[in-house]
């Protein structure tokens, strides 16, 4: 029995993907788990495999096409089956927009390793807004995430300088029609005179002149700026961090500690390792955070809306700056891993993040994130929490500065400043302070990191 296969969820936050390459072709027989295609998601290039066997009767999208999550991509069945009805159905689905079904089940590659991961829920209110070229875009879009307006309404809006976002549509599905624009403009319909005038002002510059301010993708044409369309990864960053900053009541705790012993410890470790790799301060911090979370499990939590989730494992997300954006590959069970293992793992993850080779399970499921800008010369900063986690630690550089010791003597200190951003819904100030206290104790006696 032939069936339509939709684009599966290959990363927890993806809403669409670019079908980079068909690995199999129409007519090929496939076994469960066979690689069918490569799909670029908001995170990485993912392998798309099937869990059923059969013959690829029809590939519905061309390589390079952007496909909504769940939208039909191929028809699988037995050789010689009549798929004419399915083709019609698939076409209807493709033209109707994203399918509501959650197709995770058909993608074992993507979903299997996520069992122990927290529910990395896709950001709410994330309906993709498709900007109509040089047209105002609705802030509260109608169905399908698009502002619906008749062509005449759009033409008139430009002519009359009306922001369509301020117009309530009275047509089917909330479509804005001529009378709605005229009602806002306060002009009586003058159909006989309207059309030729509208034609006259449809030139590009006039149209741009009445575009209201806002986050619009307006193609620049005067050389003063260049607008580049959002990449998937950048769009995801924008949506997730906006949601985090808006929805999570952040508070911040800042402390600094004496990093001299940590530097000495790292030096000693690297001597011991000889040429076989190098442990970084960041690796030590990862281990330190993981152990501190073990000691203060109340800081290893997530807010679920109706419950608090206490993670029983410690997975540390490591924020990595890439040219195309930010990613947070995950060091799993960092509390249980040796420093050498963590070091090797981070190096591998960062390298593959740059090459877009990370798998979905390698960028999901972190329970706490570290963001380190020390190598960029930043003294200290605060970071936005990476949902659904309860906290994030922002780390600055090590600064040499005078310190006064317990005996009142002035000496040379090497201070590192850290700021923890907490979700106040699940982590109170005292819990955060306790975590930082444990972390400082570990980092100032770095041998304990090796215990």
């Amino acid at each position: 029995m032939a069936q339509i296969i939709g684009l599966p969820k290959l990363s927890p936050t993806m809403e669409e993907g670019v079908l980079v390459r068909w690995v199999k072709q129409e007519g090929d027989e496939v076994e469960p788990g066979d690689l069918i295609a490569e799909v670029e998601t908001d995170k990485a290039n993912m392998d798309f495999a099937l869990e059923d066997e059969g013959v690829l009767l029809k590939l519905l999208v061309e390589a390079g096409a952007t496909v909504k999550l769940g939208a039909p991509v191929l028809i699988l069945g037995e050789a010689g089956e009549d798929i004419s009805e399915l083709l019609v159905e698939a076409q209807n689905q493709l033209s109707a927009g994203p399918a509501p079904a959650d197709p995770v089940a058909s993608a074992p590659v993507a979903s299997a390793p996520a069992a122990s991961a927290p529910a990395a829920s896709a950001p709410a209110a994330s309906a993709p807004v498709t900007p109509v070229a040089s047209m105002p875009v609705a802030t509260t879009p109608a169905s399908g995430g698009r502002l619906l307006a008749s062509p005449l309404a759009k033409t008139l809006a430009i002519e009359l300088g009306i922001d369509l976002r301020t117009v309530t549509g009275s047509g089917p599905g909330g479509r804005i029609v001529e009378r709605d624009v005229r009602a806002v403009a306060g002009t009586a319909p003058q159909a006989a005179q309207t059309a030729p005038q509208a034609a006259a002002v449809l030139s590009g510059e006039t149209a741009l002149a009445v575009i209201p301010p806002g986050p619009l993708a307006v193609p620049g044409n005067d050389g003063e700026y260049v607008d580049k369309p959002l990449t998937n990864i950048r769009r995801t960053i924008a949506e997730r961090l906006t949601a985090a900053k808006r929805d999570i009541p952040h508070f911040r705790l800042t402390t600094s500690f004496e990093a001299g012993p940590l530097l000495a410890f790292r030096k000693r470790l690297n001597e011991l390792m000889g040429g076989k790799g190098k442990v970084t301060i960041n690796d030590l911090l990862i281990k330190g955070i993981a152990l501190a979370l073990r000691r203060v499990p109340d800081a290893n939590v997530a807010y679920l809306g109706n419950a608090i989730r206490y993670f029983t494992q410690v997975h540390i997300g490591v924020a990595v700056a890439l040219e195309r954006g930010l990613m947070t590959p995950v060091v799993r069970n960092a509390d249980l891993k040796g420093l050498g293992v963590i070091s090797t793992e981070v190096k591998d993850l960062v390298g593959r993040a740059k090459d877009r080779k990370l798998k979905a399970h390698e960028i999901t499921g972190s329970t706490f994130t570290i963001s380190n800008l020390g190598m960029f010369g930043i003294d200290h900063f605060d970071a936005i929490i990476n949902p659904p986690e309860g906290a994030i630690l922002a780390v600055g550089r090590i600064v040499k500065q005078p310190i006064i010791d317990d005996d009142g003597k002035i000496g040379l200190g090497q201070r590192m400043t850290m700021t923890m951003s907490c979700d106040h819904r699940v982590i109170d100030g005292a819990v955060g302070a306790r975590f930082l206290d444990e972390l400082v104790e570990l980092l100032e006696s770095p041998e304990s990191l090796a215990l």
Binding site: S150, P151, L152, A153, K154, T155, S170, G171, P172, V177, E178, R179, A191, A192, T194, A195, P196, A198, A199, L202
Partner: protein, 326 residues
């Protein structure tokens, strides 16, 4: 200007053109001694003799082919189908010969002929005699297709058709033969490819031809009572099609309803709607709407026949729809 019937206007056109040009002749079933199945050829046999008013057997393919051959050697045949439903058995001559001869002979043979007769529903003539053939013939390059809606257009367009050097499919309406109107005497030519505004309006463009123009004008009157100002446009010739006038009208009104008595699927209205959205998308306030016959062979029962065909109420409903008033 005398007021005459659509039937008399056609008769006048034939008579005048046959007087004017002795290569013009009429051929078909019952055109001579019976004076025409619908009396369009009344009196022509007496005036022009059996040499130029030729009664044929019931053999449409045969006499259509004779007509093509006559046209190739320099005559101007007018072939009458008692009904365009019967042109189906002659369609090979129309499409494969009349329409293509000029191009396939590299311009050696013009085919200056007219295929004419009633098309579309009448009153209770059954599924096989009620069909509309605009879409069949408009589809074919090499043919011109004309559908007059008034006596004046019937005369002026038929005279133009007879004088045209290409094959013209000239479709009348049985329901219009008795309709009357002012018709200019003598030389009255209506050009092809020139639509006529039957009624000026500002809020919606109604496009219709042949018998449907009457129905649409009636709907426009009803719409006026509702405060809706409709423009009615009759393309008159369907191929060539005066899309420019339609575009101009729709740019003015922002809305369009196309009314045709044929079926919806692949109907001429679909082509017009396509061209309109291509030419004036930015002026449309609503998708172009169509009113057509229902998608069934025409029923014989009178009440059902009425229901199947576009009626005033259907047109009013469609107009309300494109004005977002429903």
């Amino acid at each position: 200007m005398p007021i005459i019937s659509y039937r008399e206007a056609l008769n006048a056109a034939l008579r005048e053109e046959m007087q004017r040009d002795e290569t013009v002749f009429l051929m078909g079933e019952e055109v001579g001694h019976y004076q025409g199945a619908y009396k369009v050829s009344q009196g022509l046999l007496e005036e022009f003799s059996e040499r130029r008013v030729v009664d044929t057997p019931i053999a449409e393919l045969g006499f259509s082919g004779v007509g093509v051959g006559a046209a190739m050697v320099g005559l101007r045949p007018v072939i009458e189908f008692m009904s365009f439903n019967f042109s189906l058995v002659a369609i090979d001559q129309i499409i494969n010969h009349a329409a293509k001869m000029y191009q396939m002979s590299a311009g050696q043979f013009h085919i200056p002929m007219v295929f004419r007769g009633p098309s579309g529903p009448a009153v209770q003539v059954g599924a096989q005699h009620s069909q509309s053939f605009e879409s069949y013939y408009c589809y074919v390059p090499g043919l011109k297709v004309v559908c007059p809606s008034t006596p004046a257009d019937a005369k002026g367009l038929l005279k133009t058709a007879i004088r045209d050097d290409n094959p013209v499919v000239f479709m009348e309406s049985e329901l219009l033969y008795n309709s009357t109107g002012e018709v200019p005497e003598g030389e009255h030519l209506v050009p092809f490819g020139k639509a006529e505004i039957k009624r000026a309006g500002k809020e919606v463009t109604l496009i219709a031809w042949s018998k449907m123009v009457e129905v649409v004008l009636e709907a426009a009157t009803e719409l006026e009572a509702l405060g809706i100002d409709a423009e009615v446009l009759d393309p008159r010739s369907l191929r060539p099609l005066d899309i420019d006038s339609m575009v101009e009208s729709v740019k003015k009104t922002g809305r369009c309803v196309i009314v045709e008595v044929g079926w919806s699927m692949c109907g001429l209205g679909a082509e017009i709607a396509f061209q309109l959205q291509r030419e004036c998308l930015d002026y449309l306030d609503a998708p172009v709407e169509r009113v057509t016959s229902d998608d069934v062979p025409m029923p014989y029962a009178k009440n059902l026949e009425q229901e199947v065909m576009p009626q005033v109420k259907d047109i009013v409903a469609a107009v309300k729809h494109v004005l977002y008033l429903d």
